[in-house]
């Protein structure tokens, strides 16, 4: 089993091999992802003292996107319900935390937990009608929710500061929690990323993962086989919302001042989706690879081609989507199995 199969269950294989009983090999397959995750955590901790503050902030942002992309993958990759409004939960987490800390003087940690719960409940509520939709409809409906939420937040200036933003007190007597500092936030995002990936590993290798994959591939057949599809979808949606909300909460605290346009920016959702798609949706490793590559690429473009970096980012997205529509990890897995590495042939996959 190659590393790209980690946490996936047995994906489509090549020529027939005898069905293997539970062996040491499968045991190793089950513990490998955890070992890798622990290694990643240690690497992250060890990396920190080596970084300059600016680099540290960059890596924090990359870790944030690892968490966001992995969380999106739960509903978009595993279950196949491409939520294009995921930033709604990010913003909800951020603004929830800001409001709780500003108006209720809550400590950040409590506010973060509470924001995650709020995001969970909101997603469960909104998911009730929306998860009945399929494909584009679901994507657009969730986008509408995110945009609508942004407008609502913008138009409640007394509560949220409206378009002018809201600032979380981080120093002095008013601050319920001291600002964590670059180092603190680095660790926070590292732990969040590890936590979200851990959730993804558990989901991928559990009953729930089977349910979501089955729903993705044939929802009717999944229902006929005893899967409570509504429950599974709702849990995936609300769960990914809660994780996204926690990340949004941390980001808000880090930025100190947040604005509706940035906290609910559709570009954040699109980045999440691009990362998952390019990395390989429906796998645990995919979003991680995608997040790291796209975040660094975007940052590199921004520093080196500041004026045109969005233009180039758009071009990069187009090229990548055309050449690697199934994502990097899936491409590697298929290419290794079939021994066909041509990217151009890859283009034929989805063409008309």
């Amino acid at each position: 089993m190659s590393i790209v199969d980690v946490g996936q269950g047995q994906e489509v294989a090549g020529p027939a091999t005898p069905s293997a009983p539970v062996t040491a090999a499968s045991l190793r397959r089950r513990t490998t992802p955890w070992v890798l995750l622990a290694a990643g955590l240690l690497f992250g901790i060890g990396l920190q003292p080596q970084l300059y503050p600016a680099q540290e902030r960059l890596v924090s942002t990359v870790l944030m996107f690892v968490a966001l992309a992995t969380a999106w993958n739960l509903i978009g990759g595993f279950a196949g319900y491409a939520s294009f409004g995921q930033v709604a939960f990010f913003g909800l987490g951020g603004y929830g935390t800001a409001l709780m800390m500003v108006h209720l003087n809550m400590s950040f940690w409590l506010a973060m937990a509470a924001s995650a719960v709020v995001a969970f409940l909101f997603a469960a509520l909104v998911g009730a009608p929306l998860l009945r939709l399929k494909g584009h409809y679901f994507a657009i409906a969730t986008l509408g929710v995110a945009e609508g939420l942004r407008e609502v937040v913008t138009n409640l200036p007394k509560l949220t500061g409206g378009g002018g933003g809201i600032t979380i007190p981080t120093f002095g007597p008013n601050a319920p929690t001291r600002w964590l500092g670059n180092d603190g936030f680095y660790l926070l995002f590292l732990f969040l990323a590890v936590a979200v990936v851990a959730v993804a590993i558990v989901v991928a290798s559990s009953r729930g993962g089977y349910a979501l994959r089955a729903i993705h591939q044939d929802e009717d057949a999944a229902a006929a086989m005893g899967i409570n599809t509504t429950l599974a979808k709702t849990l995936a949606f609300a769960g990914s919302a809660a994780l996204t909300g926690a990340v949004g909460s941390a980001r808000a605290f880090q930025l100190q001042t947040i604005y509706p346009d940035r906290s609910f920016d559709v570009a954040i959702t699109v980045l999440m989706v691009v990362m998952v798609v390019l990395g390989g949706s429906g796998t645990v490793l995919g979003p991680i690879i995608g997040a790291i590559s796209v975040a660094f690429a975007s940052e590199w473009l921004r520093t080196n081609y500041t004026d045109v970096h969005i233009f180039l980012l758009g071009g990069m997205i187009i090229v990548a989507v055309v050449l690697l529509p199934q994502g990097f990890t899936n491409y590697v897995r298929d290419a290794v199995r079939a021994r066909r590495f041509s990217l151009l042939e890859n283009v034929r996959r989805y063409r008309l």
Binding site: Q10, T17, P18, V22, R207, A222, A223, A224, N228
Partner: protein, 265 residues
């Protein structure tokens, strides 16, 4: 023959309306353990709708469905599955991105927990392999569903249903498109399921299979029950012949029968 006095599935006065069309009307059905009920009828007679009504894939307009005494009338498909009612689909619906074994494991993971066994992925995979052996797909667990032949794809569909350890199994044209040589092993498999005590219902077009293996046959026409009875009786019923082949053949068959009866006398 195991004949339990109580049916596991009891459907009363089922009907289903789609807009202006009454697909099924006034359907009464009982399914007994260890017995195989055949459902036949010309195309459009409402046979697939009947299966959908009995498994939660269609919501009855009127009527009632009881499974083991439990009223599951408007329940969603997963509740039927958990109650032990499994089905195959006429156009097979495998999970294309999973291996054959994983396809079956899904059923093993989500069946009703009646045996106290833990539903872990490992246990489910093990159960899946056993089920694959049962239907004759042993050794093909690691293939992709797309790589299976038609006959094997049907077996997979059956294996998926059996993974639920159902007490009731509804087969939707499971023999369609099979060659002669493939039908007999399929019938043997179905027969063994009956001997295991499953309550079986089989929607079919392959008449000789229905004649051979069914305990009882229901004929649907325009959504209503035309007649029921033992296969031999049903197949020589004028009305059935008329429904399938039209008036002319029904008359010819009736004349032929009268002629032979006349000769005998």
């Amino acid at each position: 023959m195991n004949e339990s006095p109580e049916p596991i599935v009891r459907a009363r006065n089922l009907s289903k309306r789609f807009g202006g069309l009454m697909a099924v009307r006034g359907l009464d059905l009982d399914l007994y353990p260890g017995r195989l009920l055949g459902v036949i009828g010309p195309n459009g007679a409402g046979k697939s709708t009947a299966i959908n009504l009995l498994t939660g894939h269609a919501r009855p307009t009127t009527g009632q469905v009881l499974v083991d005494g439990q009223d599951l009338t408007a329940a969603r498909p997963w509740r039927f599955a958990r109650a032990g009612v499994a089905r195959t689909f006429q156009i097979v619906k495998p999970f294309r991105g999973m291996t054959v074994a994983d396809n079956v494991a899904v059923g093993a993971l989500f069946r009703a927990r009646t045996d106290g066994g833990r539903r872990t992925v490992t246990a489910a995979r093990r159960a899946a392999l056993e089920t694959l052996d049962r239907v004759g797909l042993g050794g093909k667990g690691d293939l992709a569903p797309a790589e299976l032949s038609t006959a094997d794809a049907r077996r997979l569909e059956l294996a998926k249903a059996l993974a639920l350890r159902p007490r009731v199994l509804l087969l939707d044209e499971v023999l369609a498109g099979l060659r002669r040589g493939e039908i007999d092993p399929a019938l043997q498999l179905i027969d063994s399921l009956r001997r295991d005590g499953l309550a079986l219902m089989m929607v079919e077009h392959v008449m000789h299979a229905v004649a051979t293996i069914c305990d009882e046959v229901v004929v649907l026409h325009h959504g209503e029950v035309l007649t029921t009875g033992k296969p031999a009786a049903v197949f020589s019923d004028d009305r059935v012949i008329q429904a399938y082949l039209g008036e002319r053949f029904a008359r010819r068959a009736a004349e032929a029968r009268r002629a032979t009866e006349g000769n005998v006398r």
